[in-house]
């Protein structure tokens, strides 16, 4: 059975977050850590949203986390699960949960990152149950 896939709109690549999308092409999930206060943050910024230091550094995330929350959209032609995943590094990111039966998704479920192609842009990080 062929499953119809939702077309993923391409993310706009800003200079501030170009490294993030270049790494995505390599299959790596990057997050920002502040050298001044030690906190990770997401979405990535050049200036730390916690202490306002400009000493923020890119780090490769372990790519593992758990589902903080999700919602399966049932009213569009192709149902999909939007979610926030809390990474092992402590920050939560918006994503989709893929490679599973949408009706089996649960909050607290362990997931790992998988990159999916976007429509004419870099691949985007989604998550699949471990």
């Amino acid at each position: 059975m062929s499953v119809k896939e939702r077309k993923i709109p391409a993310p706009t690549v800003y200079p501030e977050t170009q490294v993030y999308w270049e790494a995505a092409v390599q299959g790596k999930l990057m997050i920002k850590r502040c050298a001044a206060c030690g906190e990770y943050h997401h979405y990535p910024r050049s200036i730390c949203p916690f202490c306002f230091s400009d000493k923020t550094e890119w780090r490769e995330a372990a790519g593992k986390g758990e589902i903080y929350t999700y919602s399966v959209m049932r009213r569009l032609e192709i149902p999909y699960a939007i979610a926030y995943v809390t990474l092992e590094e402590g920050v939560s990111m918006m994503t989709n949960i893929v490679d599973c039966d949408l009706d089996t998704i649960r909050i607290g479920q362990k997931v790992r990152v998988v990159f999916r192609p976007s429509d004419g842009g870099p691949p985007v990080p989604m998550f699949a149950p471990i």
């Binding site: 993310p11 943050h41 929350t69 959209m73 009213r75 809390t86 918006m94 989604m126």
Partner: protein
Amino acid sequence: MSIKGKAYIAGVYEHPIRRADDKSIPQLHAEVAKGVLADAGLSKNDVDGYFCASDAPGLGPINMVDYLGLKVRHVDSTDIGGSSYVMHVGHAAEAIAAGKCNVALITLAGRPKADGMATGTAPRIFGLTPDLPFEFPFGPVTVNMYGMAAMRHMHQYGTTSEQLAWIRVAASHHAQHNPHAVMRDVVTVEEVVNSPMISDPLHRLDCCVISDGGGAIIVTRPEIAKSLKRPLVKVLGAGEAPKGQMGGKLDLTTTAAAWSGPAAFEEAGVKPADIQYASIYDSFTITVLLQLEDLGFCKKGEGGKFVSDGNLISGVGKLPFNTDGGGLCNNHPSNRGGLTKVVEAVRQLRNEAHPKVQVKNCALALAHGTGGSIGTRHGGATLIMERE
């Protein structure tokens, strides 16, 4: 400086239209402006302050002041989504207290219904925001964002779909008495939870209506309000707050009301238990539940129990809410429900609500709005008003 007692709400108006195929958005703004001036007993030339948000086309006040033929010395088009107009009342009171204007006009209008807008299921983009690339690819739309907040609340606190449904049930009990309401049928908990699932766990009847129209508010100096023939509604306190994802340290079970509410209560010098009527933003049932907790009407996590068994129904429960039927049943003009929240609160304080839903001797009321998306970033605005 406080705005307590420095300004009065002298006029309110809700457009009776719910579908405006043959009217433009500016025209609707003009009609609600005309309507509110008639309600207050003022004329266009009395207006010296104008407030609007991004539902007004073009550069907001620049286009609208010209179109309406106003001559004003103070304008404000701060936009925090559907809660903007609740906040504008506070901003108008500030401007009046500072001597920047005497009669402030606030207008809202839109026609998403006539334009066939897929309000709940279409993506919304507000320019090249920094968050856009990290969210847009994943299909965030209005309803699944609120769905994620509801899922988390259910997970953390055991809230059920049946409890959320009670919010719709209460709104429908009120809407049956409102001849202008889009949906006037009284519904049951079963009907809500058996309506089609849109995005887990929100059913169709957990969502507000889509409607055209608008509304307007007039805020004046105390002396002007007292010279008019309308019941006196005094602004006691206001609070506003934006809330976002906090750098990734997410908490989707708390809204900006947790910050704007206490600020408004402190300025007003009253407590949640003193409030006799509350207009609570109801884009979705979950929106109401979160705000009731954050405003202090019940403890965090106990909203489900609080709204059950008709506790929000006027004449039945402890906290009558949205007695016009709210956004869930009556009206959500321009996909922005904040202005009509203030309108119904003022009707209650003036003893002008429908007799079947009028709160007896209503002297203290609250209106709260949530604009934007509780799943990502939103603004909260709280307003406390007193009948003098």
